[in-house]
């Protein structure tokens, strides 16, 4: 247990340099013109002198770069995420954005793992069978498609042609899409983006699980388990899967960044008002405080998720704790 704790502590400590690196990169990019106000004014052509003065004050123009960085970072750490140039403080809006993204991402993760693991195992156990070819062929198409493009195709077929599902947003303004009921309306909006996202992640996980299961099933301990008369189901799901799933946990961690970033393109395609969509909107309109805040929030979410996954990893694989 002590090993596990110190392992976790090390992983948490590792998050600090990552956080600082992202904060420096984000700050440097948004200050790449030397002065963020210059960058902002590329978006706002007709700013009045008062507005420019307010912008200068907001970004602490005149101070050296490192002072501005520390001022920004210390404000952020204390919960002041900045003020949008167009509408209100970021702190007042960030929570709905995060929740909207999670509303899409977490079910997608669960569905793709729930379907992907059995499918990958099936494919590995019947290697080179017709079913395996079908699964692997579909999966390699899946990982080769831009997520947002499948989204557009989904909109064309299910919204514009069949009129089964709404094509954009998380809720309808009025009236609700299905039977005039608001919860049903939310479900209706969720189905298409969720299906697209799950399908694409599913393809990645199936390929991974299949490759790792193939390797695990050839190991001596699996042969040993079979020889001692343990049922096939138990050998597959308990012994082999446990060793095959650890690399998958790593990959989930590695892809979490892009997943939690809300697959910005997918959210934009569906105008799904989560972090990714708001990031694209803010970056397009050069709303720098929002851009900075969303980048940092996404980083924090990725780091928290990674520590959580490290814990899962350590529980699954005792070797990790000891090294």
């Amino acid at each position: 247990m002590a090993g596990l704790l110190s392992y976790l502590l090390r992983r948490i400590l590792f998050a600090i340099p990552v956080f600082l690196t992202v904060s420096i990169i984000t700050f440097l990019i948004t200050n790449a013109s030397g002065n963020p106000v210059d960058l902002v004014r590329l978006g706002i052509k007709n700013a009045t002198p008062e507005q420019i003065a307010a912008l200068n004050a907001y970004f602490h123009v005149g101070e050296p770069v490192y002072t501005r960085y520390f001022l920004w970072l210390s404000q952020f750490v204390r919960g002041d995420m900045g003020v949008s140039l167009y509408s209100g403080t970021v702190a007042s809006k960030i929570l709905p954005w995060v929740l909207t993204t999670l509303e899409l991402q977490i079910p997608a993760l669960l569905i793709s793992l729930g379907v992907g693991i059995p499918l990958g195992i099936y494919s590995a156990k019947r290697q080179y069978s017709k079913g395996d070819y079908l699964v692997t062929t579909t999966a390699i198409f899946g990982v080769s498609m831009p997520t947002f493009w499948i989204g557009i195709m989904g909109i064309i077929v299910f919204s514009l042609y069949l009129h089964w599902l709404p094509s954009f947003g998380a809720v309808s303004a009025y009236p609700p899409y299905w039977w005039g009921s608001i919860p049903a309306d939310e479900v209706a909006h969720l189905i298409l983006p969720l299906a697209v996202l799950s399908l694409v992640s599913l393809a990645t996980y199936v390929r991974l699980i299949r490759a790792n299961m193939l390797e695990a099933l050839r190991q001596d301990f699996v042969l040993g388990a079979r020889a001692s008369g343990i049922s096939d189901f138990k050998v597959t799901y308990k012994h082999a899967l446990k060793s095959a799933i650890t690399p998958v946990v790593t990959i989930i961690g590695l892809t979490f960044g892009s997943l939690l970033a809300g697959a910005p393109a997918l959210e934009t395609t569906f105008s799904w008002p989560g972090l990714g969509y708001e990031f694209v909107v803010a970056a397009t309109s050069l709303d720098l405080p929002v851009v900075q805040a969303i980048t940092m929030i996404i980083t924090i979410m990725v780091l928290v998720a990674n520590v959580g996954l490290d814990l899962v990893y350590a529980l699954l694989d005792p070797r990790v704790r000891l090294s």
């Binding site: 990019i29 947002f148 195709m153 970056a283 397009t284």
Partner: protein
Amino acid sequence: MRPELVVEKSHAEKARRGASQADVAWRRFRRNKSGIAGLSIVSFFLAMAAYGLFLDPVPPRSFACLYQGCTNVPPFTTWAHPLGTELAGIDIWQEIIHGSAGDLYVGVVATAIAVALGVVIGAVAGYRGGISGVLLLGVTQIFFTLPVLVIILLVARVSILLVAHGLGLTLIVLILAAFGWPGIAFITRGEIFRVRELEYIQASKALGASTYRILFRHIIPNILSSVIVVSSLLVAGNILTEVVISFLGFSDPSASTWGLTLEEGLTTVRSSWWVSFFPGLAVVFCVLAFNLLGDGLSDALNPRLRE
């Protein structure tokens, strides 16, 4: 790429030394149907890109149709515009041809830079160990945890605004290379750990070979197979990322890429589905080809799977 050429070139040598590693790999690869399919599709897109750059009489984004009245033509209705035209009369088939050059440029060149950087850095850090090894491990770990896509999008958005427009796609290439090398360096480092304790390395050390010579003559050629496989998959990933960058409008708007056509496709999806359908199909096949090629190479080059 024709097998005969390879065989002929090494014919005299082969009598003396037996089949080379490349011969063996090629023989294995040739039997892999999906790998060959990947290679063929990649060659097809390369040819298309070359045609678009040097031979195609129609310039990218030609508005000729605006004056000839052939705007928003549905696909498969006229030979002049097999895949239709969009609202301003731009031909979709021509967009696919011209976009292929841009997307392959980004995918291939960004990967080449990332591989060159990653192999050298990973090799030095892996072979030397010590501080440089620890530093590299730390840096790659940080890169793996970063929300890379968001940062790439942010860098692309700001740099395209600030740097002169002419650089266009080259900026995207540099950004993708900057975020691509840590993965390659990490794999190289792991492979070096596997190779560096092998006997032939010990032997050349005992013969007094310099570190530089051991690294570049003996180690790197022996770990290239893993790097080649990963590079092929990285090209696929880079093309997908470029498509996302252009689709969101964070790339150079004057360059021709599939992502830009897709962006327009989304805005006009209600009136003309073909504007987003066909360029997306091009992306899928191009990325699929590099993925198939990578899988095929991995089967052909991975010594652990060799019979």
